[in-house]
């Protein structure tokens, strides 16, 4: 069926709702990459087998990641009129027992994590799934409601609102929770200028690293002259320790498509490209499938919802190079040439892909758009801080007890994020340092945990919000080792175009290796500082400008660790 107007969406909404809270049973398996890594594939097969064998009538589906990566594989049971029960760390041997319990209307106490009585969507008129009807059964009152858990209580789920709830393979379920209504609203009742105005009013800033205001970028592209315009979604994700783009694509691919459609409508583009890391096989499969579904429903392609607006979308696989976070290098890669940054000006908004006006937005930035269009820019600007509005997905990794990804309002204290969601260091020891925003963010000492997670505070601390990764290190971590790891990372990821970046990193690496071997002197340290300053000044892109930051930050915050490794004169 082609969707032509808002009423058609409502029809599909009802269908989707029947799937999400069915009259019979719905058993979901968290099947994003994190889930699969911990055996979700086997669990899914076992569940299907057991359900058939034990003659239980149930809809067994795969869903995305709810953020509780440490508790994967996750199985959830939704029964008509009963709360949604979440089981974590489910071993495949226990699946048979679990299905038996489900059949008997009971639950398995040792595996249960939480229950959900209802699911509230951030959308105003969006649907609320009421799982529970009538009174809560006595037996279930011992299980914690998810909104009472630290993990969910402290999150503001906007972008990740559907992740882990809907099946990424079913468009009906996305539409059931208010999907594509933002597109319908924009196409039917808003001019392109109004859309851009809402985005500007939201004060949304790019989630890729630099934090450039999205509205201003769109406006520049909107007014730029060109026969053709393009929207490019940057889902390259080259940072070493994160995976939120992957999780979003695997959990809620239609959200990205809707964001890109609205962006295309706003700037006057008819073509879009999603640049995805080639290693994200599942994400690629799901986004491609979602595109086919959207096309079938008339939400992508020619004359979308009979509005006269046409938009085609293509997925382009990239190698996941860090340099492709730089938008002009990404454009070069899209065109099939060497991924090196282009001279700026001209900026992509006036002369981008194939010489045409182009907006390059981070995947998470685009995922924010539908909500902004639905609820207004003013509403959005009320979340977060004054200058850093909205939420940020944060991926906690490294030496952290609970590796997970969470969505928090900007301006939340980093310490709270680490303790509330990550539950401290995995080793149980004291946290010594952490890294925010990927390799370019450098390494910050534990006392910087009191900083707030936003663009201003982090850049004042000579770090950055970047992609939103938080890498935790405990007191056993050797800071020079960390500096070496990240300097080596830059050595591998530099494109090698600028002399200062390429040769600078080469020398930094060599000097650092000398210091670790006990060959360093004070002159080495002053040369590092001099070289870092020139690299920051003369490199073309942010990679070269920040390549010395990991080493510099260790020198600044942990000078004693370096000094004790320096060569003693006469020793």
């Amino acid at each position: 069926m082609k969707i032509n107007k808002a009423e058609d969406l409502k029809k599909i909404q009802k269908e989707g709702m029947k799937l999400l809270s069915p009259a019979t049973l719905r058993i979901t398996v968290g099947a994003a990459t994190c889930g699969f890594a911990k055996g979700a594939g086997k669990i899914f097969e076992a569940l299907k087998y057991e359900v058939k064998k034990q003659k239980v009538k149930a809809d067994v589906v795969t869903v995305g990641c709810s953020g509780l990566c440490y508790a994967e594989p996750i199985v959830e049971v939704i029964r008509s009129g009963k709360p949604r029960i979440t089981y974590g760390n489910v071993p495949v041997e226990k699946v048979s027992e679990l299905v038996k319990a489900i059949k008997a209307g009971k639950f398995m106490k040792d595996l249960v994590l939480m229950r959900r009585d209802e699911e509230k969507s951030p959308l105003e008129k969006g649907s609320v799934i009421k799982y529970i009807k009538g009174k809560l059964p006595e037996a279930l009152s011992g299980i914690k409601e998810y909104r009472k858990l630290d993990f969910f209580k402290n999150q503001t789920k906007l972008v990740s609102r559907n992740s882990g709830t809907i099946s990424p393979e079913r468009i009906e379920e996305y539409i059931a929770l208010g999907g594509y209504t933002a597109l319908a609203k924009a196409l039917s009742s808003m001019t392109t200028e109004q859309v851009i105005d809402e985005v500007s009013a939201s004060k949304l800033r790019g989630r890729g690293g630099a934090g450039y205001p999205t509205g201003a970028k769109w406006k520049a592209c909107r007014i730029a002259a060109g026969d053709k315009k393009y929207v490019v979604c940057n889902g390259s994700e080259g940072d070493p320790e994160i995976g939120m783009h992957r999780s979003l694509l695997e959990s809620d691919p239609h959200l990205i498509i809707e964001g890109m459609l609205i962006a295309g409508y706003a700037v006057g583009a008819q073509e879009g490209y999603i640049y995805v890391n080639d290693r994200y096989l599942l994400a690629l499969e799901r986004i491609e499938q979602a595109m086919k579904q959207a096309e079938k429903q008339g939400l992508l392609g020619r004359n979308i919802m009979k509005s006269g607006f046409s938009f085609s979308l293509k997925v382009k696989r990239g190698g996941g190079a860090y340099i492709c976070g730089e938008e002009t290098a990404l454009l070069n890669a899209l065109e099939g040439s060497f991924a090196e940054p282009r001279p700026r000006p001209p900026f992509p908004a006036t002369k981008g892909l194939l010489g045409m006006p182009t907006i390059v937005n981070n995947l998470e930035t685009l995922a924010n758009i539908p909500l902004i269009v639905l609820k207004g820019g003013k509403w959005f600007s009320g979340i977060g801080t004054k200058l850093s509005t909205g939420t940020k997905i944060v991926a906690l990794s490294g030496n952290v007890a609970h590796a997970c990804w969470v969505e928090v309002p900007l301006g939340m204290r980093i310490k709270d994020i680490v303790t509330l969601f990550g539950k401290g260091a995995a080793s149980g020891k004291k946290i010594k340092a952490f890294q925010a925003g990927g390799p370019s963010g450098g390494i910050l000492p534990a006392k910087a945990l009191s900083l707030k997670l936003d663009y201003e505070q982090l850049s004042k601390a000579e770090s950055l919000l970047g992609s939103g990764g938080l890498l935790i290190m405990d007191e056993d971590t050797d800071m020079l080792d960390m500096a070496k790891f990240f300097t080596d990372f830059f050595a591998d990821e530099s494109c090698g175009k600028c002399t200062s970046c390429r040769e600078g990193i080469k020398q930094l690496k060599q000097i650092l290796e000398g210091i670790i071997d006990g060959q360093g002197t004070g002159e080495h340290l002053s040369l590092i500082k001099r070289m870092a300053a020139v690299m920051a000044d003369t490199s073309a892109c942010a990679l070269g400008k920040t390549a010395a930051v990991p080493l510099l930050s260790v020198m600044k915050h942990f000078p004693q660790e370096i000094e004790k490794r320096l060569m003693r004169r006469g020793a």
Partner: protein, 303 residues
């Protein structure tokens, strides 16, 4: 035309002209290793950095890639710029300590040697990309490219094998600022004269002049130009110095058209000079200088 300031001096520039070219036109020299008039700006060597103040913000930019704009304030020799340039030269010197052009540049900036903590290599290529860009943008052969990335970046033939699209024209050799790309024309080999470009593992026959017998240009180069310009097969049979085109003495020419009928390549035509007067005219782009027209002329007007 836009007006801007360079080192305090008001200068005029064409819109879109680079800051580097504007400075050059006004007698202000900015060093560069990777820019060339015939090629698009690239911005790899970072020597041409300048300070540019615009809307109250001062940034360091490469002048070769930055377009001239109304009201820009450019400074080419502030301490910040000189320090950056010096460091870049030191880094280049560490990479290529024996390249004369780098050594000369270092001398100009008063650099005797790079700091002792810097590790020296013995490379000769500075990765300016001039050869790659000349091959792709001007020659349009696309025979060589950058390979690998980061610290391991090199200029190479595809898959480090014989560059099959190389026509041995030698543009890369000519343009290389360090002289690392070398060509060798060998006159005496068993299969005739040859040109070797070792860097791209290329070896091509040189065409010998039909008249003087001297080898003058590689076969694929001549063939590429011939095909591109749609020239006849024998067009490049003679070397440049032997190629003496026939000259028509219009005073003697009767306009009989004998030469035109006999020209194998249709290079000779009759031009109307008004009335019944017609004179033979040679279109040199088709002429191979075979001089078959010469004995045909009844009045010896062609020589």
């Amino acid at each position: 035309m836009v007006k801007m300031k360079i080192n305090g001096k008001v200068v005029k520039a064409e819109e879109g002209q680079s800051v580097l070219d504007t400075a050059k036109a006004n007698g202000i020299l900015i060093p560069t290793l990777c820019s060339q008039d015939a090629l698009k700006p690239y911005g790899a060597c970072r020597l041409c950095i300048v300070e540019i103040a615009k809307n109250g913000r001062t940034t360091v930019e490469t002048s070769c890639t930055y377009p001239a704009e109304e009201g820009l304030e450019v400074k080419t020799d502030t301490p910040r710029i000189l320090e950056g340039r010096k460091m870049v030269i030191e880094l280049l010197l560490a990479r290529c300590p024996s390249v004369p052009s780098i050594k000369k540049l270092a001398q100009e900036y008063g650099i005797k040697d790079c700091p002792p903590q810097i590790k020296k290599e013995n490379d000769e290529c500075i990765l300016c990309g001039l050869c790659v860009r000349a091959c792709n943008e001007v020659v349009k052969a696309g025979a060589i490219q950058f390979a690998k990335s980061g610290l391991y970046k090199i200029v190479d033939s595809p898959f480090h094998r014989t560059a099959e699209d190389c026509i041995a024209c030698g543009a890369c050799v000519f343009i290389c600022p360090t002289g690392v790309i070398k060509k060798k024309d060998e006159q005496q080999t068993p299969s005739g004269p040859k040109r070797l470009i070792e860097n791209w593992q290329v070896e091509h026959k040189l065409r010998e002049c039909k008249k003087c017998g001297n080898p003058f240009a590689p076969e694929p180069h001549l063939e590429k130009v011939r095909q591109e310009k749609n020239l006849p097969g024998e067009f490049f049979n003679l070397c440049q110095s032997c190629r003496q085109y026939p000259v028509v003495d219009e005073d003697k020419c009767l306009g009989c058209g004998g030469c035109m009928e006999n020209c194998p390549l249709g290079a000779m035509e009759l031009d109307d000079k008004g009335g019944y007067d017609k004179k033979a005219h040679l279109y040199t782009q088709n002429c191979t200088a075979c001089h078959s027209c010469e004995p045909i002329c009844p009045v010896q007007a062609i020589s």
